[in-house]
C-alpha cells in the first residue's frame, strides 16, 4: 500500500467495516495522535506500515478498503 493511501487512512474518518477489532482500534489511536499533533504524521505512517508488515491480518484488513 502506497504512502498516500496510508496517509488517507490516518487523516481520514472512514469506518473500517469488516476489519478486525485490532485494526480498528489501532488505526483510531493513530488518528487521535495525529489530530493532537499533526507533526507526528510521518512517524504514524511508519508505525502503520510496520504494523501491516508484521501482521498479515492487518494487511488484509487495510487492503480490502
Amino acid at each position: 500500500m502506497n504512502e498516500s493511501r496510508l496517509k488517507a487512512l490516518i487523516t481520514g474518518t472512514d469506518d473500517l467495516s469488516g476489519a478486525s477489532l485490532a485494526s480498528r482500534i489501532f488505526l483510531n489511536r493513530l488518528r487521535i495522535e495525529v489530530r493532537h499533533k499533526p507533526a507526528s504524521l510521518p512517524d504514524k505512517l511508519a508505525e502503520l506500515a510496520a504494523f501491516m508488515a508484521k501482521n498479515p491480518f492487518a494487511a488484509e484488513d487495510f487492503a480490502r478498503l
Binding site: 485490532a22 485494526s23 482500534i25 489511536r29 493532537h36
Partner: protein, 325 residues
C-alpha cells in the same frame, strides 16, 4: 474450549490434569485451589446457561483444551508496557486486573501505546467484589503458577494454539448513539468537569441534568467503526465532578446512548445461537441496569466484570473470543 461452573474440588481435579484454565469466582474459593496452569479473578456475578446469577459456591472455569503451550506472568504496573513481550506466536493472551488498582488506570490510559499490543488477541477483564463490599474488600487476581493472590498488577496467561488457528476477538455493544448531541472533552481522564458541545465549553454535570442524559447508559465513541463505550461512575452536583469507569479521550467525539428497554433481549438478538465454547465476559453495569439476574442471554456465558478488555479497557460491553475460528 469448555465453559463450566465447577465446585472447588472439581476445579482442583481439573487443574491436576495439567489443563490450562481461566477461572472466575469468589475470592475464598480461588484461595483454595492448587498450583497449576491457571489464572483467576474475583467476581461472584456470572452469566450462566440458566441466566445471570450470583454464584458463591462454584467457580466459572474456562478450560482451554486447544492450548498447545502456556505461560503465566504477574506484571507489576510498571511492567505493563512489556505485556506483549510474552506473546506466543499465533496464540492469544488473557489478562485479569483488579478494579481500582494502579494497573487498572495505567492500562486504561496507556495500553494502546504498548508495543505489540495488537499483534494477537488480548482478552481480559477487571476483577471485582460483591457490590456491598466495594471499598471494604479489594478485588483480587491469582497467579495459579505460584498460587499467589495479588490486589495490584495484572496476571497474564499467554496461550499457544495449533498452527493455522485464527482466534477471533470481538465485542458486542447493544447500545446505539443518540444523534442529537456530540460531546468532546478537553482532557483525557477518568473524570471531567467540562465538556464541549457545539463549540461551547460548559460544565458537564449541569449539561447532563439539563439534557436529561441517563447516566446508567454509556457514552459511545466511534473507533473507526467499532462502537466503544465509556460508562458514568458518578456525578457530584456539588463539585461538578463527573467520573467514569474508563477514561474519556481528549478530542474524541462521544454521543450518549439511546434508551435500552430490554438488555437481555438485545443481547440475545445480537448473539443468536452461537457462543458455546467461546470465552466471553460481560459488564456488571449491564447486569445491574439490565436486571439480567435470572435472564438468559444466549449461550455466551462467563464472568460479569468491573470492566472488559479487548485490547483496551471497555465498559458495558460483551467481549467474545472464539478459539475455534
Amino acid at each position: 474450549m469448555q465453559n463450566e461452573l465447577l465446585t472447588p474440588a472439581q476445579t482442583a481435579a481439573r487443574i491436576a490434569t495439567g489443563a490450562v484454565l481461566s477461572i472466575a469466582g469468589p475470592d475464598a474459593l480461588l484461595a483454595t485451589l492448587p498450583k497449576g496452569n491457571w489464572i483467576g479473578g474475583t467476581t461472584i456475578y456470572m452469566l450462566t446457561e440458566d441466566g445471570g446469577a450470583e454464584v458463591e459456591d462454584r467457580l466459572f472455569c474456562s478450560t482451554l483444551d486447544s492450548a498447545t503451550t502456556a505461560s503465566i506472568r504477574h506484571l507489576a504496573p510498571d511492567d505493563l508496557p512489556a505485556l506483549a513481550g510474552g506473546q506466543i506466536p499465533g496464540g492469544i493472551t488473557l489478562m485479569m486486573i483488579p478494579a481500582f488498582s494502579q494497573a487498572h488506570s495505567r492500562f486504561a490510559l496507556d495500553g494502546t501505546g504498548y508495543p505489540g499490543l495488537f499483534d494477537q488477541p488480548l482478552m481480559g477483564w477487571i476483577t471485582g467484589v460483591p457490590l456491598g463490599q466495594i471499598g471494604r474488600t479489594a478485588p483480587a487476581i491469582y497467579d495459579g503458577r505460584t498460587g499467589q493472590r495479588h490486589t495490584e498488577g495484572a496476571v497474564v496467561l499467554h496461550v499457544g494454539l495449533p498452527e493455522g488457528r485464527r482466534p477471533a476477538l470481538d465485542i458486542v455493544n447493544i447500545f446505539a448513539p443518540r444523534d442529537d448531541l456530540t460531546l468532546t472533552f478537553p482532557e483525557t481522564g477518568f473524570s471531567a468537569r467540562e465538556v464541549t458541545v457545539d463549540g461551547t465549553t460548559r460544565p458537564l454535570a449541569s449539561l447532563l441534568a439539563e439534557r436529561g442524559i441517563d447516566t446508567r447508559l454509556p457514552l459511545i465513541a466511534n473507533y473507526a467503526g467499532a462502537a466503544i463505550n465509556v460508562s458514568f461512575e458518578s456525578v457530584d452536583p456539588a463539585t461538578g465532578d463527573v467520573s467514569f469507569y474508563a477514561p474519556v479521550i481528549a478530542g474524541v467525539e462521544y454521543r450518549p446512548a439511546r434508551a435500552m428497554p430490554d438488555y437481555a433481549a438485545a443481547f440475545a438478538e445480537r448473539l443468536g445461537q452461537g457462543g458455546a465454547g467461546t470465552l466471553s465476559c460481560n459488564c456488571i453495569l449491564n447486569y445491574l441496569h439490565g436486571a439480567m439476574a435470572g435472564q438468559r442471554t444466549g449461550r455466551f456465558t462467563g464472568p460479569v466484570t468491573f470492566g472488559e478488555i479487548a485490547y483496551i479497557l471497555l465498559n458495558q460491553t460483551l467481549v467474545t473470543l472464539d478459539l475455534a475460528a
